[in-house]
């Protein structure tokens, strides 16, 4: 990999360089400020970077702004960005992920920890190369991504990729920031809708639902991600969790107003349901990922229960709840 490390601390840049040299055939380039990094990336020929390591607190442009700039410039939409920072407040963590960071390492770090994160970033970089290739190929073909695949969505506020969410939740746990909860939102009858959709119309549906959920949560501190299978996972401050029934109603009303041109069973409007809120507190740190799985399972089960009850109502004459 070619790694660009940006930090105003010369010692950190040197340590990073030494550590990475022990890890295989990587090349490290360094910049001591965000502006210097942008300058480097703007040079001809265009610089191919496979991974960024960014400090947050730097004079002038900070690492979060730099991360946002990297994501919005179009050249690095999926390239792994690892924040390497002493900033431990949750607002820095949230802002970094919302700006497009995939991982977050707190200084001072153990050498082994940095090596582990870089190996993860390397795996991610290789996956990203394949995804970008697939995206290019998809643009020219009608091959549909699998229903269970977490589709990459860009330009939706506070929406991060699933890999980043899987790093974010354990980080909250490691920093003892347990005051968050996970809620899953699931597109009802998504398998039936998926069968009827083209590749592009399914992608648009997922993007529209993501945008709608994000918009309805705009007054809250949250991060969300598309997990595949029509399910979105949203991590929100526990004390802020809205009334889920009202929230789902508002999301469904917004979706109806969008008049989505999606082939649904019986031409029913696209609707979502929410699962139960899963608190991070109470999950052991090493099993914190279970909170994501639980939230996902809750939302998907709620969706199938609702459809089953509706079937009973229509076909068996039982009361629907």
């Amino acid at each position: 990999m070619k790694i660009l490390a940006v930090d105003d601390d010369e010692f950190i840049l040197e340590i990073v360089g030494e550590v990475i040299r022990t890890m295989g055939d990587h090349e490290v380039v360094t910049a001591s400020s965000a502006i210097e990094a942008i300058d480097f990336l703007s040079r001809e020929p265009i610089q191919e970077i496979d991974c960024f390591l960014l400090d947050i607190q730097m004079p002038g442009m900070d690492g979060i702004e730099l991360c946002r700039a990297l994501r919005s410039c179009g050249a690095f939409p999926l390239t792994p960005v690892v924040m390497l920072t002493a900033m431990t407040d949750k607002r820095y963590i949230d802002n970094a992920y919302a700006a497009g960071a995939n991982d977050y390492v707190v200084k001072p770090f153990e050498v082994g920890e940095l090596q582990h994160r870089i190996r993860q970033a390397e795996q991610r970089a290789s996956l990203v190369r394949k995804q970008l290739q697939d995206l290019d190929e998809d643009a020219g073909s009608s091959q549909k991504p699998g229903l269970l695949e977490p589709i990459q969505i860009f330009d939706v506020d506070n929406l991060i990729d699933y890999y980043a969410l899987e790093n974010y939740v354990p980080l909250l746990s490691r920093r003892s920031l347990f005051g968050s909860a996970v809620v899953g939102f699931h597109i009802r009858k998504v398998a039936d809708i998926y069968e009827r959709c083209s590749s592009l119309s399914f992608r648009w549906l997922i993007e529209d639902v993501a945008e709608t959920i994000s918009d309805q949560l705009r007054d809250y501190q949250f991060l969300m991600s598309y997990a595949g299978n029509g399910t979105f996972l949203c991590v929100i401050e526990e004390h802020q969790v809205p009334n889920l029934r009202k929230l789902v109603d508002a999301i469904n009303l917004s979706l109806q107003k969008l008049e989505l041109q999606v082939p649904t069973p019986g031409n029913q409007p696209v609707r979502v349901c929410a699962g139960d809120m899963v608190r991070l507190l109470g999950h052991a740190s090493d099993k914190i990922e279970n909170a994501l799985l639980q939230a996902r399972a809750h939302a998907e089960r709620r969706g199938s229960d609702m459809e089953a009850r509706l079937d009973e109502f229509w076909y068996l004459g039982r009361g629907a709840q």
Binding site: F11, R21, V111
Partner: protein, 109 residues
């Protein structure tokens, strides 16, 4: 080309020597602040904060855990002092004195 773990240890050792040499210079900023006490101006306090932030980020990785913790505690206290009055509080000065103590111990070794 991949470097060996021994090369990594050697590399980190060289960085550590330079870190300690610089620490001596950085302590002067904190000594100025201690000398000025609660009358220190915001500029000196802010400069001290910057120095502490950097030391806190690196010291632990180079194995100086106590120094790293002292600089982090000092940084947090001074940050809150600057936000409130722009000058170090008695608690802030005590935290700087503790940091200086840790740094002096390390530099004497």
């Amino acid at each position: 080309m991949t470097a060996s773990p021994a090369a990594l240890a050697g590399g980190l050792d060289r960085i550590n020597q330079r870190f300690l040499a610089k620490l001596e210079d950085q302590c002067r900023v904190l000594d100025q602040l201690l000398e000025a006490g609660q009358g220190a101006d915001t500029l000196t306090s802010t400069e001290a904060l910057y120095v502490l932030h950097k030391i806190a980020g690196v010291a632990g990785t180079l194995g100086h855990t106590a120094l790293g913790q002292a600089s982090r505690a000092c940084e947090q206290q001074l940050q809150s002092d600057i936000a409130v009055t722009g000058q170090p509080s008695p608690a802030g000065l005590a935290a700087i004195a503790e940091f200086r103590h840790q740094a002096a111990n390390l530099l004497q070794r």
